[in-house]
């Protein structure tokens, strides 16, 4: 008799843990042949709130880590993903991709993680400045992460879209709550497992599955979310998010790119979720000596 396969229970990812949704609900997105992909968690507003609490808790230590250390951890994500390539390829195929496209998508995702791993200890040097003010002050501006970022992953891809808009956010020291693609959620859930084994501290990335309609509202109205990154293409939904953002002046960024392109990655996606901090410091100005040697 042939061996019976063990089926995977798809969970959500909050604060480094893998619970099912607190609501106990599920939904069943279908593959191209109309077969259910699985019983995916239909996350609730409470799950979103829990995830935001976890993200806020993780923000202090993640943002204060040495940039170099964040780079090492991001690189470790790439190492872990490389080792689990086959699983992602088969999930992409299950969700309707061809084998070739699936392979390309996973390879590009790995390389994109390495790209942002490299940026961790470099964007500051490129974008910060020493400002030549006229008074006797040393004046400089540095970038600091915005805080907790809500991410609405692109709907039309399962992995590369998620990776492309999430990595710049955590590269810059933010923490985030991600709502996965509603109809292609498998890779997001499995990617949480990769993150969990990559030295990424719990709470830095939280990943929920469910319907955008229900979750966008809670995420974009929440008073402890500092920014929203929108990867979808529903302009009505985006408008609603932008209006909700007013409540606590969230920064909203919307990207619509073809994420499968090799150059759909850049420095300015990192700087979007950064604040600029300027410091003034007096320079002692006494005596007549000058640096004339």
């Amino acid at each position: 008799m042939s061996r019976l396969e063990i089926l995977k229970t798809y969970k959500i990812y909050i604060g480094g843990q893998f619970p099912r949704t607190e609501s106990g609900r599920f939904y069943s997105p279908l593959d191209k042949k109309g077969k259910p992909l699985g019983n995916i968690c239909l996350s609730s507003r409470k799950d979103v709130r829990n995830a935001i609490v976890a993200a806020r808790k993780a923000f202090g230590s993640w943002s204060e880590r040495a940039a170099f250390n964040r780079g090492q951890i991001l690189y470790r994500i790439a190492e872990m993903l490389e080792g689990r390539k086959e699983q992602f390829i088969s999930e992409l195929i299950q969700q309707g991709s061809t084998k070739k496209n699936a392979e390309e998508e996973v390879n590009l995702s790995i390389d994109r993680i390495v790209y942002y791993a490299g940026w961790c200890d470099k964007y500051q040097q490129v974008l910060s400045s020493v400002n030549p003010v006229a008074s006797s002050h040393f004046n400089f501006s540095v970038l600091e992460p915005t805080g907790v970022v809500g991410i609405l992953a692109p709907q039309n891809t399962s992995l590369i879209g998620l990776v492309s808009i999430m990595l710049p956010v955590i590269c810059g020291g933010n923490t985030c709550v991600v709502i996965a693609s509603e109809n292609l959620p498998l890779c997001a859930v499995t990617f949480a497992e990769v993150l969990n084994s990559s030295d990424v501290p719990g709470g830095v990335v939280n990943i929920l599955t469910g319907t955008n309609k229900e979750l966008n509202e809670t995420l974009s109205t929440h008073m402890d979310v500092n920014a929203i990154v929108y990867g979808g293409d529903d302009l009505e939904a985006l408008k609603q998010i932008q209006e909700n953002a007013v409540l606590n002046v969230k920064r909203v960024f919307s990207y619509s790119k073809d994420w499968s392109k090799a150059d759909s990655q850049d420095l300015y996606m990192i700087s979007d979720t950064q604040e600029i901090k300027t410091t003034w410091h007096p320079i002692e100005n006494i005596g007549g000596s000058s640096s004339s040697y």
């Binding site: 170099f68 780079g71 940026w119 490129v126 320079i283 006494i286 000596s289 640096s291």
Partner: protein
Amino acid sequence: MATKKKNTEQGIDWNYSPSLESTSHLKLKKKYDLFIDGEWVKPSSGKYFKTVNPANEEVIAEIAYGNQEDVDKAVKAARKAYTDVWSIMPPAERAKYIFRIARLMQERARELAVAETLDAGKTIRESRDIDVPLACNYFFYYAGWADKLEYAFPNRKVESLGVAGQIIPWNFPLLMAAWKIAPALATGNTVVLKPAETTPLTALILAEIIEESGLPAGVVNIVTGHGDTGAAIVNHPDIDKIAFTGSTNVGKIIQKALAGTSKKLTLELGGKSANIIFDDAPIDQAVEGIVNGIFFNQGHVCCAGSRLYVQESVAELVIQKLKSRMDSLYLGNPLDKNTDIGAINSKEQLETIHKYIKIGKQEGAEMYQPKCSIPTKGFYCAPTLFINVAQSSVIAQEEIFGPVLTIQTFRTVDEVIQKANNSPFGLAAGVWTDKGSRIFNLSSKLRAGVIWANTYNKFDPTSPFGGYKESGFGREGGLHGLNSYVKLS
């Protein structure tokens, strides 16, 4: 071999048990050939030289003595690798090779640390905690730049130079190899590197790592040898760039040799860096900073804080505390984790240091050395300080490159700026004060490439390093370090 020490201030006898780092996991070859075009090849002269452990004068291994013919072979391999593979490889793929090297180095970190200590005489604490991790980090850091160069030079087209010839010193053998190789590779150049004759081991282990990483053959070539080997690199017509770290004298010879050629040059040369203590400085931390500034790596540091300037009102206290701290330093076997001061790198260098100590005494300065037992085998020098030194004194003007500190005093900010800048060198300076505005005053007026405020001898891959004046030109580290290896158009 822990030496018995007496802390004179507290009257306590300290006696640490020896804590020797094991060498059992280090598998060295008896003989090392040249690493050219991805292969280990015998030197065309058939000659080898010995590399010795300066801590006990035992021979560690025999090293190939590369000559002009070998250098030519290496340059040809580097040129071919540049044209056929490395310069046309997508930058993101180039990055991945460099990341791989960084990871493999991290995996073999302990082995590298022990080899470095054996070959260079530096303490295991230093090679384990500073040299080797930093070397890994420079590779990791520059790896990430490979596919981001257009952000470093906005509005310009960035191209690699071609073949880089790199000559490195014996004070930080592996770290200097990393400072040179990592940015060169990230920017798309290929490399011919010559390690120093007294410390070739870790560069050769790095060659093994590079081999293991699958880096295309010829992208990095390591040619060991002496000064004439280095000269053959400098004078080779098919090299596009020379990067040299070493003495100002040799740097000047290289600058002259390159005059009239189109080779790009960076020089990281000697120093005589001022370490300035103001009366409002936290004195105990400052004393630690003085010790770290001059006795770190036995004073074999181009940016060593070898000229100490103490504000007059606290001079007596600082000198007293400094002497007491020197009394508690452990000198001895570099492999012992208790050791603070290891072996002088070579007999030749020990003689140079002794020569300067003699000059200092002849010039009438007052010398202090703690009483410590000097091992009978190996090359060692007790930590030394000179008080009542004149600004014009030879020991205050010339680079000694050993654990020898000169102390002068000052009264005003203006005075110390003038004194500190009164040097042909301009590599680094230290400033110790509680007052932030004073730090920025000093850091804008001191003519040196690196200013350390309330710290000393700090290095980081993101932080540019290099000197003003006769300490050389060009920067290593950070975004600015890329500039040394690119052509902008």
